[in-house]
Subunit: 246 residues, 4 copies
Amino acid sequence: MSPSDNGDALVISSDPYHPANLIPELCRGFYQLGWVTGTGGGITIRLGEKVYIAPSGVQKERIEPIHIFVLPYPQPYPETDRVFLRRPSLNLKESACTPLFWNAFELRDAGSCIHTHSQHAVMATLLWPSGEFKISHQEVNQMIKGVRVGGTGRALSYLDTLVVPIIENTPNEEDLKDSMHAAMVKYPDAAGILVRRHGVYVWGNDWEKAKAQTECLDYLFEIGVKMKLAGLPTELSGEQNGNVAI
Amino acid sequence: MSPSDNGDALVISSDPYHPANLIPELCRGFYQLGWVTGTGGGITIRLGEKVYIAPSGVQKERIEPIHIFVLPYPQPYPETDRVFLRRPSLNLKESACTPLFWNAFELRDAGSCIHTHSQHAVMATLLWPSGEFKISHQEVNQMIKGVRVGGTGRALSYLDTLVVPIIENTPNEEDLKDSMHAAMVKYPDAAGILVRRHGVYVWGNDWEKAKAQTECLDYLFEIGVKMKLAGLPTELSGEQNGNVAI
Amino acid sequence: MSPSDNGDALVISSDPYHPANLIPELCRGFYQLGWVTGTGGGITIRLGEKVYIAPSGVQKERIEPIHIFVLPYPQPYPETDRVFLRRPSLNLKESACTPLFWNAFELRDAGSCIHTHSQHAVMATLLWPSGEFKISHQEVNQMIKGVRVGGTGRALSYLDTLVVPIIENTPNEEDLKDSMHAAMVKYPDAAGILVRRHGVYVWGNDWEKAKAQTECLDYLFEIGVKMKLAGLPTELSGEQNGNVAI
Amino acid sequence: MSPSDNGDALVISSDPYHPANLIPELCRGFYQLGWVTGTGGGITIRLGEKVYIAPSGVQKERIEPIHIFVLPYPQPYPETDRVFLRRPSLNLKESACTPLFWNAFELRDAGSCIHTHSQHAVMATLLWPSGEFKISHQEVNQMIKGVRVGGTGRALSYLDTLVVPIIENTPNEEDLKDSMHAAMVKYPDAAGILVRRHGVYVWGNDWEKAKAQTECLDYLFEIGVKMKLAGLPTELSGEQNGNVAI
């Protein structure tokens, strides 16, 4: 299907929970949280065979339903020939995160994926210089219970260890696709992927679970950074595998 | 009474101060404060023999009156056979905090109880590694005057010492009931209970007093954490029982 | 005039800039800034011979015009027999700050006075343990230009030194009246008075100037605290009276 | 043209994207971000030969379209005899930033310029005591991609080094014009100018780009300050011109 401005019916709805209404509303909330300032970040929602995606390079707190792209899922052709069900009639391009969102759909059967530039996520990648943000169960916070194994599986227990892989940033967002894919394969239980000096990708079965998990992980990054800066332990060394008091 | 979707009249009201309207509104405010992100935290209101409780595991900033549970107080049967006056017709479960809220009703005759995951509360539990968050009167802040003895008694004086017990977290929220109960018995003057790496429970005679006290305690946790990180004294040693300058 | 619930006409107005409409609106904004949580803090507005004051001990973000007290200015009798033009018909008491607000009216001819519990103000009183918060002109920030000499005089220059006296807290807010009065006499150029471990009082010719000056001072307290915690100089020593580079 | 209150048609429009509607709305948002408290800061928009400017010394979150000044561009006479198309009928003066905004129009052909007193910008000027805020590409954050060369040119790459000149503050805002001009000539690639102990000026081709770039730079100031305070490297020394791990 060639680009066209047909397909408005795909994004015009009086239902506030229609993805084309939800994406603008959620992005306004993410802006308030400092997650998507400077046109960065965003969210995708997939309902069965339709994927809803915001444009690239626009103020995320000012998106309107008519700005939303709709793509078929799965894509009938290789992604380099990306196919659309609807493109906005404006001079817009789909989010540069699109191939990364696709990782979440294909590898985890996710129904939604969120990308933030949260400073808590970025600081976590700087203060955890290895390839993992990791907090062991003795140090972990209650919010770990809001995260699911692999993002779409069972809820984590308070006793589990949370690990979020950290991949290195690349000049072009699209080029993160392969390293994100590799990290998701290597860490099948991870509910998100941190990108060094950049932000985080988090997914879930639907937009509500993706959003709740993004909030939980962001909370954990924030408190982890605070703990590390305050000199509080956030991770057990190899020998410490029992009861550990601060 | 078996679960049913009858009882909508118990939660549908045009009065903005009806508990089923207040709980959603207050939760939206708590979300803005970072107290109930990731579906955590919440508030209960008790009006005489009726207790209003939000569902578990939902986005707290998106609750609607029809999502509210109503329970009789006191419960006619042991709590393991919890009884309801109204259950939402959706696939919802009452807040996992329910048995902890009951502690506040039964031990303090509270009319409302609030549970937050505030990072100030959590940091306070990490920087006060003993079983008490304690600030002596010389170091204490004006906001102590907003807290009541036992949560439902007389207001504290600026000269009083504030003590909030800290209990250890458990994998399941419900399992905190006994240790919270024990701490409330041991500390009859405490207006709230901190849970390590988790958050805080605060109660009051009604929702207004519970909310004001939660704000005062959260303020004290925040300023206490700032003072400790800045190297300012927050607690007097045993010998220092007189005038102490910073 | 004895207490009565007459006088509603004094607080019911369709003009959004009527003091009885402004006070609730401004208090909602102050709540968002963290200045008046836990029922603390507030604002008074004086228009000629009428003084508008909010109640004590209520949620400041939920005040309504009908909750506003109106007092004559000056008071015909000594303040211990405080006189009212209008008292709300509810079970309310006027703000405990009333005698402190009166200091601003009597000593500075102020048209408005604001009291906040801002944590920036409180931290400033803890990190400046002497009786003054002081930043010399070489270290001072642009925002000093938003502050007026004595609160109601000419605007400060960027080259001026800003001094805000710090008085010690007392168990009862009313008991601060005399020490605040003494500090205002001793520091005729000060635009506000800090209260240790408590907050700040700031006044101006009208509510707009009082609010703008409160924002400027709060900004200066915040940046002063950040500078001090970062080890940056905020005050010149006696010998350093010339050009000083960081 | 002499001052008059004619010209209301220049600022009354039902189009929410008319500059006289946008400036008040954007200023409300900037107030929420802490960028324009205490009447400081602001934004100008230029549409071809018309320049829209807010008044000086007013609460930026309460501006209304009728408060907006309209000036012709370019100015027919030397700027000391500033010419207006419309002046508000109130007792208002145009923003003291006007000559600085003109720098952005004349030197960069900007369509909008924003001035904030963001504490992140001010802290950056204090922690980077030299004449430049500089972060090399190895340390730089993803948000650098949201900044354009010279403010109105091509987007920066993640591999570029970001440099923002820092000029010294002056007692009168207008007196910054020459040093800002000199810095813009010396740093033709800079997208903004920091003013020590004061704030930042950022411009772009239009208001959307100016706002997005202000957000990106503010993000970079904030994370740069956090990194420096956490002891993380933000700039490479002369010898470190290759791969550098933290």
